[in-house]
């Protein structure tokens, strides 16, 4: 499979601080399932921010869908962002919008006609088990329900890449398992999945997934070769 994401010697520095990410190089194949792991503060969220184009690197080259996005003019970024779904660590649901409207956001942003929005949104609400909570505001939803709304919002536009930052950080083990099942189902439909987590048992549950480990802003494997988690070796 061809590389959908390529990082080459990428460095990221916030202001005058030392580099948060240093010499990060890797490539992700389209349709793969990847875990990004590492201790808190290792740089996982920063790397994901580069991936979903919330940040530009201080140095290095990032290619998404075959194009260098570091030098990409700002006005072309929206087109790339629409191809990437993001599940934020803090969900980032719009607080004054209902679950329905939050999930419908990417479709409205992409310019879909209002009459065509209802069916996919209702389907997505049912898919994440919130069919009867469509009109609920985020504040009235539990952490797990908010998480599922965030996931539904991230995947409703059928993104080519789904990026999830600690998606199981706020849910119990059972919900975490169910979320992974959702991601696997999406992955089987062809979406490349990138999940940042430090939950190693969770990684072990997804067969065929590959893992990158960050340590103090550097990929732990200096060659950049992705490794299988221990219990899934040889199953890819």
């Amino acid at each position: 499979m061809s590389a959908i994401v390529q990082f080459e010697n990428v460095g990221l520095r916030y202001g005058l601080d030392s580099e948060t990410l240093s010499d990060v190089s890797f490539s992700l194949a389209g349709g793969g399932f990847y875990f990004l792991t590492g201790a808190s503060g290792a740089g996982k969220t920063s790397l994901l921010k580069l991936l979903y184009l919330a940040q530009r690197p201080s140095r290095g080259v990032i290619r998404l869908f075959g194009e260098d996005v570091v030098t990409l003019p700002r006005k072309r970024l929206p087109g790339f962002r629409r191809r990437i779904g993001v599940v934020f660590q803090d969900f980032r649901l719009v607080p004054h919008l209902s679950a329905y409207d939050n999930i419908a956001l990417p479709l409205r942003v992409s310019g879909m006609e209002e009459g065509e929005i209802d069916a996919p949104v209702v389907e997505m609400l049912n898919w994440v088990g919130l069919g009867d909570r469509g009109q609920a505001r985020p504040a009235t939803l539990s952490g797990g329900e908010q998480q599922r709304v965030a996931i539904a919002r991230a995947v409703i536009g059928r993104p080519e890449i789904l990026v999830a930052d600690e998606p199981t950080g706020n849910v119990d083990a059972d919900m975490a398992r169910r979320l992974m099942t959702l991601f696997e189902a999406l992955n089987r439909l062809g979406t490349t999945i990138v999940v940042a987590t430090h939950d190693l048992p969770l990684i072990a549950q997804v067969s065929g997934a590959q893992m990158m480990r960050l340590d103090k802003g550097r990929l732990a494997d200096p060659t950049g070769t992705l490794r299988y988690p221990p219990n899934s070796q040889g199953r890819a």
Binding site: K75, P78, R81, V86, V94, L97, R108, E114, G115, G157
Partner: protein, 301 residues
């Protein structure tokens, strides 16, 4: 193709994206006050301009000829000769002597009964009305004609008497126009502040929209629509109140019975210009909001 129901639903969805109902914030009320003052100032500018034009039109073709002769008999003879010369001159539509009794009446408040006693050498006056067009050239010709008749004849264009008043009205008109300009600038500044405030308070929503692939223009449209509607509400309210005040002032002005004060009026064209102000305000607010938000968004990635 989007149906009307679709468009209504899309508009409702966009409306939900930025919370806060109509007339909920201070923005429409501030715009209403500014529009009220702008319309009043513009009305003053237009009304004073109309008064100056009306005065100029009335006075431009009129002049008085003074026969400054101390001897009463000689004055009457010279006045009669001058009247004949004026009536035969090119560019003079009418020349009429001012009744000495009427003149004495006008002078009585200053001179008392001496004004009509004949002891004082009060000049004889002849009212001259010129034919329309190029009054200055005609007055020059008359000045030469009268100079040839006698050095005791003086011609005074009426416009010269009211020149200081016309100058004052013109200055007040320009002042009012300047106030209109300042109010427009202030409205723009208020919109910039409001748009910046709205942008800052909705930053979380904007970030999410950006990361989902919203373009700057899509986001700016949300704000420009909201601020445009606020400006429409405020503008309509401000204009309505201002129009009411202008009508009331108009009634008071016409009740004074003064020619000069009564000349301060608004014609239909003036009202049309005033009515265009709220529309201009909405366009100004919308474009300013768009520009402000686009600039703020341009600073983010």
């Amino acid at each position: 193709m989007a149906t009307r129901v679709d468009r209504r639903a899309a508009a409702a969805a966009r409306h939900r994206l930025l919370p806060g109902g109509r007339l909920a914030g201070p923005m429409p009320w501030i715009i209403a006050i500014m529009m009220f003052l702008t319309v009043l100032a513009a009305a003053a500018a237009l009304g004073l301009g109309a008064a100056v034009r009306s005065m100029s039109a009335d006075l431009a073709g009129r002049a008085s000829v003074q026969v400054v002769e101390a001897d009463g008999q000689a004055r009457d003879l010279l006045a009669a000769r001058t009247l004949r010369a004026l009536r035969g001159a090119d560019g003079v539509r009418a020349a009429d002597p001012v009744d000495p009794a009427k003149l004495a009446d006008q002078l009585r408040p200053w001179l008392g009964d001496a004004a009509s006693s004949g002891d004082l050498p009060v000049p004889a006056l002849i009212d001259v009305m010129l034919t329309p067009g190029d009054a200055d050239a005609k007055l020059d010709r008359l000045r030469r004609l009268l100079g040839g008749l006698s050095p005791k004849l003086r011609i005074e264009p009426h416009a010269a008497f009211l020149l200081p008043l016309a100058g004052l009205l013109t200055a007040l008109g320009w002042l009012a126009a300047g106030i209109v300009l300042l109010m427009i600038l202030a409205t723009g500044a208020v919109v910039v502040l409001a748009a910046r405030g709205a942008h800052d308070s909705h930053r979380g929503t904007i970030d999410v929209l950006h990361l989902m692939g919203s373009t700057d223009v899509q986001i700016a449209r949300l704000f420009q629509r909201r601020i445009g509607l606020d400006a429409l509400m405020g503008g309509a309210l401000g204009f309505s109140f201002a129009a009411l005040v202008i009508l009331l002032i108009g009634l008071r002005l016409s009740a004074t019975g003064s020619d000069v004060v009564g000349a301060v009026s608004l014609d239909p064209r003036g009202w049309l210009l005033l009515a265009a102000l709220p529309i201009f305000g909405v366009i100004l607010a919308t474009l300013t909001a768009r520009w402000t938000v686009l600039r703020a968004l341009g600073r983010a990635l």
